[in-house]
Symmetry: C2
Subunit: 237 residues, 2 copies
Amino acid sequence: MSVPAVKALAFDVFGTVVDWRGGIIREGTALGAAKVLDVDWGRFADAWRAQYRPNMDRVMSGDLPWTRLDELHRMTLDKLLPEFGAGGLTEAEKVHLNTAWHRLEPWPDAVEGLARLRQRYTLVSLSNANVALLVDMAKYGGLPWDCVLSAEFAHAYKPDPRVYHLVGDLLDLPRAQVMMVAAHQGDLHAARGEGLRTGFVPRPQADGPHRPRDLTPDPSFDVVATDFVDFAEQMGA
Amino acid sequence: MSVPAVKALAFDVFGTVVDWRGGIIREGTALGAAKVLDVDWGRFADAWRAQYRPNMDRVMSGDLPWTRLDELHRMTLDKLLPEFGAGGLTEAEKVHLNTAWHRLEPWPDAVEGLARLRQRYTLVSLSNANVALLVDMAKYGGLPWDCVLSAEFAHAYKPDPRVYHLVGDLLDLPRAQVMMVAAHQGDLHAARGEGLRTGFVPRPQADGPHRPRDLTPDPSFDVVATDFVDFAEQMGA
């Protein structure tokens, strides 16, 4: 499908660009081996991620003041470590584990697809992760963003409309010239509600085997692609 | 000089990274040739730039609400064109000329120096230009920012302290681990006042022959370099 009017692509990051679950398991396993911990890191990763939405909801409801994702991750980590029998980590080890989210690997097709897309479009991240996390992740994985955009600039978390508005406002583009690209349909529905175009890349493995998602694309999405190379192809890049 | 604690480098852009005056003259000359205009584009560029500081001062004094640099440039352009006998441009031509600031060439050493520095440091722009301008300029000139930061995120113009605070706040770094790099000493004095380290690259040609600047480095600057390759060398990159 051709979407000629689109000038900028805004990418969700966790699950869409990078494999958050594989990365947390990898980093946890390495730490667990060094510290001789008996932790099921898949279950640990799922438990950590399970608090992602509830924590952001606490911020958006006003129960918490604006709090960056790094800090929300740390709140959850401090709660989970003793529950998983890993309460004895040093502060430096906890800091290191918390920044595992800064060192997630891109999906195998992601960098190639982004490099192609970047020749034709302006590429921005549009993530609930804070700027420091996104900058570290981009350096770690070689993600070629033209501009790192984050919920942090809106002091609001997706699906709050203010986050989607950032792209057109800051790039000085009409929203119809911006396409949100995500593996999660709720992100795309919210983006479409604010006038953005939508690109769905389902990433069936993104959330692991224990959190099934609806992978059947909403027929209203502008583009549905199997991966970023297929997406680049469909976008004429 | 070794500055081992520095993690991030924040770059002024106009004059420091790109040749604003040469770019405006080049674009004006091309437009003038196409439209058969008799304009001294060097004088035009100087007159345009001369309103840069006064316009930002109007914003910071509250005389104007927050206004992006693209719009401040346009206000000045609309005033200057008739004064220079070029009032007959079409709206599309005016828009194109106003975005000449998005298409400025990097100094010959800039991209090589930045590429080297990026392997060791996080590189951000820290300019009074708005985000759209900086993103276009980076794509045009191949500037490898890890993150585009702009006065627009603070809704304040340098030398307002809030602009310098953006870097440490958003990258989650102490200010002493951030170095401001600029061709203008006032920018560096303001940055140092907020706890940032300072790198001076004088760029004697930056403001053209008619606006002499003090090029004698303040001895308090941490690093003084002849260009970005020399700067990379001194920074161990």
